[in-house]
Amino acid sequence: MNRSSSKLTRNLIALWAACILVFMYLPLACVALASFSKNRYFRFPIPKYDTVWYSKAFDSLTVQGLFETSLSIALLVTAISVVLAFFGSLAFARFDWRGRKVFQKIILLPIFFPQAVLGLALLLWLSSIGIIPDWRTAVFAHLIWIVPIATLVMSIQAYSFDPALEEAAFDLGATRWQTFREVTIPILWPGIFSGALFSFLLSWGNFPLSLFTTGADQTIPEWLYAKMVSGYTPLVPTLGALTTLGAALVLLGGYAIIVFSRGKGAK
């Protein structure tokens, strides 16, 4: 009796999980659906399907500019955040030092903070020291939020690090730099890679921080928001679907690389 009741629980929870998955993907499906509508204004059922807005999006110079801004910000954020978060995660999880517990909590503060307020505070701070915001200040703003997250992601890998491996390398006569390059980095590699993936994607999709810190430049999420609030164009669902697709491809590609390299490592 006990077994059948626990099986029932399992199935009920599985059903619940399916409902939540539908709930999570429903709005994305709506955006994708709307992107194939030919009409200027969305209505359902869609009278006529067409890909005309996709070709318009690819031809548009505005879209190209938005894409370049978003991509430059995301790439720069990824590069800087990987380096900072790598050392941060060593301090977070690998070394024992006085102050580590406090450091761990300081790292969490920017994550547990409303981003819109952080963006405004940064805007105020920049203007009070006389810096005019543009896409480069947005890189800085993204880093404040993304470096802590990347640090956490990498720390999970760093926790499983066995210090004896580094010590063994030292004992066998490796220099500090050799140990670092040949032992530390390869072991932490999966964590570094996931951290980079997170940094890129979170920067790519970020809206509240960009809104206040890009100045005259505009990222894709910002442009979409501006057009949603006023001046709707059918390019909104199209571009929304395209950037979602881009993010999904990057994520799945990254995941495939992790799975593949893990499989190779096991052999």
């Binding site: 709930f23 209505r43 102050g99 409303p114 809206f207």
Partner: protein
């Protein structure tokens, strides 16, 4: 009685030993590795917050620091009923947290204890939407809920049922908050539940505890760190949310982040916006510090 010279000498020894201690501390690899991140947060997190505090004490509608500090902004927050947007944000955040804990607990339990390998796939599928800009996802809800949108359009043309759109109302905002912050509750709760050892629950069942007793006296307390993190994260983020009330709520309700944004942009009243931010930061900060003090991160993130 020690001579002055001896005392001076012992002080010198003490200070040099303190200096040596400090040097020993500062050259630890952990300290060195943490420095870049800490510097970043010092200039990018602490400094902006201090600037906000500074501005909140300036007279209304000024744009620099060259004025006598005043509490005028805080007084006008109380007098001009700005506290209303605070109450709305607070109330909506509470509702969101409660709903999400109820929604997420069974799923988190399933993912931590029942689904085995499927849990990985489920995690991946639930993480993907996190990387899509939240205003695109909220816009998807607009398309779903709007008059002649996916829901109402389908109801009308397929079943002949006409209904009013629920868009631009308080329930729509709650829907948006629940939707956006679901993963922020789910994953910490899942982490918390996976910390409950299976032996302990089984032992309790063998000793005759009912399912409800196991839940209340074993699972819930042991999973509490994760539940606390999830609840706090959701509460704090929905308290400061902007896009949900703007995109799904129309002008139905003004939440605090809305008021802050308006004060900075259309209102051109930086000191007022700063004062509102300071109150929000105090609320968020005291809650976060209170919860963080009780948590051991090594235990949660799996240090051996």
């Amino acid at each position: 009685m020690a001579s002055p010279a001896a005392e001076l000498e012992s002080r010198a020894v003490e200070s040099s030993s303190r200096w040596a201690e400090f040097r020993a501390w500062i050259t630890q690899p952990g300290v060195l590795c943490s420095t870049p991140v800490l510097l970043l947060l010092l200039i990018g997190f602490l400094a902006p917050l201090l600037v906000v505090v500074g501005y909140s004490l300036m007279p209304p509608r000024t744009f620099d620091f060259g004025h006598v500090p005043t509490l005028e902004n805080f007084i006008s927050i109380v007098n001009e009923s700005y506290y209303r947007s605070f109450l709305w944000a607070f109330g909506l955040a509470c509702i969101t947290v409660v709903l999400l804990l109820i929604i997420c607990y069974p799923l988190a339990y399933g993912m931590a204890k029942l689904f085995g390998h499927w849990a990985h796939l489920l995690t991946l599928l639930l993480v993907i939407p996190l990387f899509v800009s939240e205003n695109i996802r909220l816009f998807g809800w607009v398309l779903f809920l709007i008059k002649r949108g996916v829901l109402l359009g389908a109801l009308e043309s397929w079943f002949g049922i006409g209904a009013d759109s629920m868009l631009y109302s308080v329930p729509a905002i709650v829907l948006g908050l629940v939707y956006v912050y679901l993963p922020f509750t789910l994953f910490p709760v899942m982490l918390g539940i996976s910390m409950v050892p299976r032996d302990v629950t089984e032992a309790a069942r063998d000793l005759g505890a009912s399912r409800w007793q196991v839940f209340r006296e074993i699972e819930l307390p042991l999973a509490m760190p994760g539940i606390l993190i999830g609840a706090m994260l959701t509460f704090v983020l929905s308290l400061g949310s902007l896009a949900e009330s703007k995109i799904l709520g129309g002008q139905a309700v003004i939440m605090i982040a809305d008021d802050i944004e308006t004060a900075f942009t259309f209102g051109q009243n930086w000191p007022l916006g700063s004062a509102l931010s300071v109150l929000l930061i105090l609320l968020v900060g005291s809650l976060v510090l209170y919860v963080l003090r009780r948590l051991d991160l090594d235990e949660i993130l799996g240090r051996r």
